[in-house]
């Protein structure tokens, strides 16, 4: 990925990510998140990780964000909810500022002290279908199988929560 491409993509990513945070309307904020996730997939494409890029769009931009939108609509969050979201109380705000400040100092220290590594050329087939499959089904077999348990827990949890709400 050339520096120009990276600059364009990174700017678009940062702008859309900022829109997620600052936009007063929850639905538009969610849509900005969809754009952010889509642009992230484009970054993956430029890194040669085609499989990951496609899965990123399918799972994050296509599935998880639909749930986000559903929740926003289900709870009927509207633009007037924005005011309520910003009322955090003085203590809450102080905490947020301190937390953000610490993070900023840490990041600055990191960037100043640690030299940037030269961008490595990914090995051939990196992030492609074959590489992902080998990693999943040969190298990390147990975590992969455990994922199914995790998903099962998610199913059970969702049903239990939803049915308690309905009852």
């Amino acid at each position: 990925m050339g520096p120009v491409t990276f600059a364009v993509l990174a700017t678009a990513l940062v702008v859309s990510a900022l829109t997620v945070v600052v936009h007063p309307s929850p639905v538009k904020s969610a849509m900005a998140l969809v754009v952010t996730l889509f642009l992230l997939a484009v970054v993956f494409v430029f890194l040669g990780a085609h499989m990951i890029a496609a899965l990123q769009v399918i799972v994050y931009a296509g599935a998880i964000m639909v749930l986000f939108l559903f929740v926003i609509m289900l709870l009927n969050l509207s633009d007037d909810g924005a005011e309520a979201r910003h009322q955090g109380g003085a203590l809450f705000r102080l905490g947020a500022w301190i937390g953000g400040g610490v993070l900023a100092v840490e990041l600055a220290a990191l960037f100043l002290r640690v030299p940037f590594p030269a961008p490595a050329t990914p090995p051939a087939g990196y992030g492609g279908a074959e590489a992902v499959a080998t990693a999943l089904f040969v190298d990390y077999l147990l975590p992969f199988e455990l994922t199914s348990i995790l998903l099962l827990v998610a199913i059970v949890g969702a049903v239990v929560l939803a049915q308690r709400r309905a009852a």
Binding site: V45, V66, L67, N76, L136, V138, E145, A154, V159, Q163
Partner: protein
């Protein structure tokens, strides 16, 4: 490698222009005579009352969660399907365990009646 995506980028550009023109044509070409009645949303001929964006059934929310879970499952199946011939019998067993656990999940949801809309 990237020149494959040149076509995708170009298609995105052309498609955006075509669809944009299609969506915007009426704004430019069409008449513009707004009136209080015309701008009302349709509600069986009555003046609409109350906010339109009310809450809706929790079932849709459940469908969305189940969709994510099974979508993630399907996503695991794609790389598996590509290398399946190389993995052979161990690959089949691996995936049978994975699908088995999630089929149990589907059975649970089914039994709990979360899939029935009555």
């Amino acid at each position: 490698m990237l020149d494959q995506y040149l076509g995708v980028i170009l298609t995105f550009g052309f498609a955006a222009v075509i669809v944009g023109i299609m969506c915007g044509a009426s704004m430019v070409l069409g008449a513009h005579h707004p009136s209080a009645v015309k701008q009302q949303v349709f509600e069986c001929g009555n003046p609409p009352t109350g906010p339109a964006r009310g809450r809706f059934s929790v079932r849709f929310y459940l469908v969305a969660i189940l969709f994510i879970v099974f979508d993630v499952e399907v996503v695991f199946l794609y790389p598996w399907a590509i290398v399946f011939r190389r993995l052979g019998v161990p690959g089949l067993v691996e995936m049978m365990v994975f699908i088995g656990v999630l089929a149990a999940g589907l059975g649970y949801v089914w039994k709990k009646g979360a899939l029935s809309w009555d």
